[in-house]
């Protein structure tokens, strides 16, 4: 079993110790056909029995959910942009809608830093919290470069999208993908999804939608590629996504070197202090 912290990983489940694992599963969220209906948010809540995440109005847009969190495993972002447009129907306003979700990273920082083993890699190469093991240390919360996972303060444990582990094991698709009326959320073997996404991207580019781009599909990126990737129509940060996330454990060997040096400095400092006679 290799122990790679960074870079492309051809077989994620095998790296985690599975033999004869099924194909890696994931989501392709094509935001160009998202209509912002939030059926995914509702379906996720219902299937997974996720408690409410507050009934506040954000006052900023049609998005009153705000962000992913312990009790929000799908979040539909809503962006209203006004800018001069070169082509189109004369309108200078466009709406961007995108359903965000846990990325199920190839190198998942949350999983790497979890001290109890509560966070695990499944045979589908997804990342799941075992809530009966989690002791609520909240390390994963600060480690996730996307700000996905969070701790529910009333029950003390960390929660996030499971990619419907209980459904996909039975051959069903995750609740959000099932409920999506426009197939903006597509579930399946990751390789197939990536192929489909490239075809879709080419089609959009041919239609003149040059701003279309894929996000999280590249094995060479900072998390070794995401299990849940996206087609976006603007820069990732416009949707609240980090432009170039890196798994924090990439630098772990260097960090320990510096800590080891500091420990030696501390021990040396104490020893030095005992050199005098008084």
């Amino acid at each position: 079993m290799s122990n790679s912290l960074y870079g492309p990983l051809p077989d994620v489940a095998e790296d985690a110790g599975y033999t004869d694992a099924p194909e890696r599963r994931g989501f392709f969220t094509d935001t160009s056909v998202c209509i912002g209906c939030k059926a995914c948010e509702v379906a996720c809540k219902e299937w997974n029995a996720v408690p409410d995440d507050g009934f506040a109005l954000t006052g900023m847009s049609y998005d009153n959910t705000g962000a992913l969190g312990a009790s929000t495993w799908r979040h539909v972002a809503f962006v209203e942009q006004t800018r001069p447009r070169q082509v189109g129907d004369g309108s200078d306003t466009r709406w961007l809608m995108a359903s965000d979700v846990c990325k199920h990273c190839t190198h998942a920082a949350c999983l790497d830093v979890c001290p109890t083993g509560a966070l695990i890699r499944t045979e589908f190469a997804t990342v799941v919290v075992q809530s009966d093991v989690c002791n609520g240390c909240a390390y994963c919360v600060s480690a996730c470069p996307y700000g996905v996972i969070d701790r529910r303060e009333d029950d003390g444990r960390a929660w996030k999208c499971t990619l419907c582990y209980d459904r996909i094991g039975d051959g069903l698709e995750p609740a959000c993908a099932k409920a999506c009326p426009t197939d903006s959320i597509q579930y399946g073997p990751l390789d197939e999804l990536r192929e489909r996404a490239r075809t879709r991207l080419d089609a959009l580019h041919e239609e003149g939608v040059t701003e279309a781009r894929l996000y999280g599909e590249d094995d060479g990126d900072g998390v070794g590629g995401a299990g849940a990737f996206f087609l976006l129509l603007d820069e990732p940060e416009v949707y609240g996504l980090p432009p170039d996330p890196v798994v924090t454990t990439r630098d772990l060997p260097a960090m320990w070197k510096w800590a080891g040096g500091a420990a030696l400095a501390l021990a040396g400092g104490v020893a030095l202090s005992f050199l005098g006679r008084r």
Partner: protein, 302 residues
């Protein structure tokens, strides 16, 4: 002065989650773990060089601070009753898992050494435990730098070189402070020198962090949370206290009272430093510019 960063965001909302680690638990633990670590090493050397009062001070401080620090860690968990799950696996990729095992060793060794020193039972075993704690001590004091740096929080992650050295210096000063406070002048010489060395390292590391010296990407921007707001004020207060404590440590060779005052000032300085680091992390995670600007530039350059 950092130029206004140009960046786009989702309604100015943070990308990262604000760390759930909070005051006083996390900074209190950082301080107490550091105090325990430096004290256990000090105790072992005091014992070996024939300074019984300093050794006793170190043994008791190491055990008490380690226990209190572990208590704060448990209290900070979302499910404190499951704290033992920390020891159900050993996970090298998790600094918290590695740290839990180090802390478990430190706790056991320092308790045994202190119990033996206080009761006089099994002095040989107590001395061996004390020697073991002299090794785990520096690790307890500095692994916390990795603990914080192994996160997505820019002010913590990018400071992975600074934080262990900052904590090493601060811990050295804290251990010296405890020695000066609780030990007669004649035996406290090493404690005074520890305080001075530690204060110097703490001031140097904190100064570098504030100015962004040694940070790779966008040093001024990433270091901004250490200069501004609550963290900035605490770091400046900590510096004043640490400087005062260092001066007091010099005077302490002539006056026990000066030693006590210097010890209290250094302790205050060490606490300010730890609280500042926590609040800098909060501010860093909550400002989308700290996440977006360096990452956007990487994308543009690539």
């Amino acid at each position: 002065m950092v130029p206004r960063a140009e960046f786009r965001s989702y309604y100015g909302r943070p990308i990262l989650k604000k760390p759930r680690w909070k005051a006083p638990h996390m900074p209190g633990y950082l301080y107490l773990g550091g105090l325990s670590g430096a004290s256990s090493t000090m105790a072992a050397l005091a014992d070996a060089t024939g300074r019984p009062r300093l050794a006793l001070t170190g043994r008791i401080t190491a055990a008490a601070a380690g226990t209190a620090g572990a208590g704060l860690l448990v209290a900070e968990l979302g499910r404190p009753e499951r704290f033992l799950n920390m020891l159900r696996v050993f996970k090298p990729t998790s600094p918290m898992s590695v740290g839990s095992w180090i802390l478990a060793g430190q706790g056991g060794f320092t308790m045994a050494a202190a119990a033996s020193a206080v009761t006089g039972i099994a002095p040989g075993l107590g001395r061996a435990a004390g020697a073991a704690a002299a090794v785990t001590g520096p690790l307890v004091a500095t692994y916390t730098g990795v603990l914080l740096a192994d996160t997505a929080v820019p002010a913590w992650h990018e400071a992975y070189r600074h934080l262990p050295l900052l904590f090493a210096g601060s811990s050295l000063a804290s251990g010296g402070a405890a020695g000066m406070i609780a030990t007669p002048r004649g035996e406290a010489g090493p404690a005074r020198r520890m305080a001075l060395l530690g204060a110097g390292l703490e001031l140097a590391a904190a100064g570098a962090l504030e100015r962004g010296v040694g940070l790779h990407e966008h040093p001024e921007l990433i270091a901004e949370p250490y200069r501004t707001g609550r963290a900035g004020a605490l770091l400046r207060a900590g510096r004043a206290l640490t400087v005062a404590g260092a001066i007091g440590a010099v005077a302490a060779s002539r006056s026990r009272a000066a030693g006590v005052v210097a010890g209290l000032a250094l302790t205050g300085g060490a606490l300010c430093t730890r609280f500042a680091v926590l609040y800098a992390g909060h501010a860093s995670a909550e400002g989308p510019k700290y996440t977006v600007v360096p990452q956007r530039e990487r994308r543009t350059v690539a």
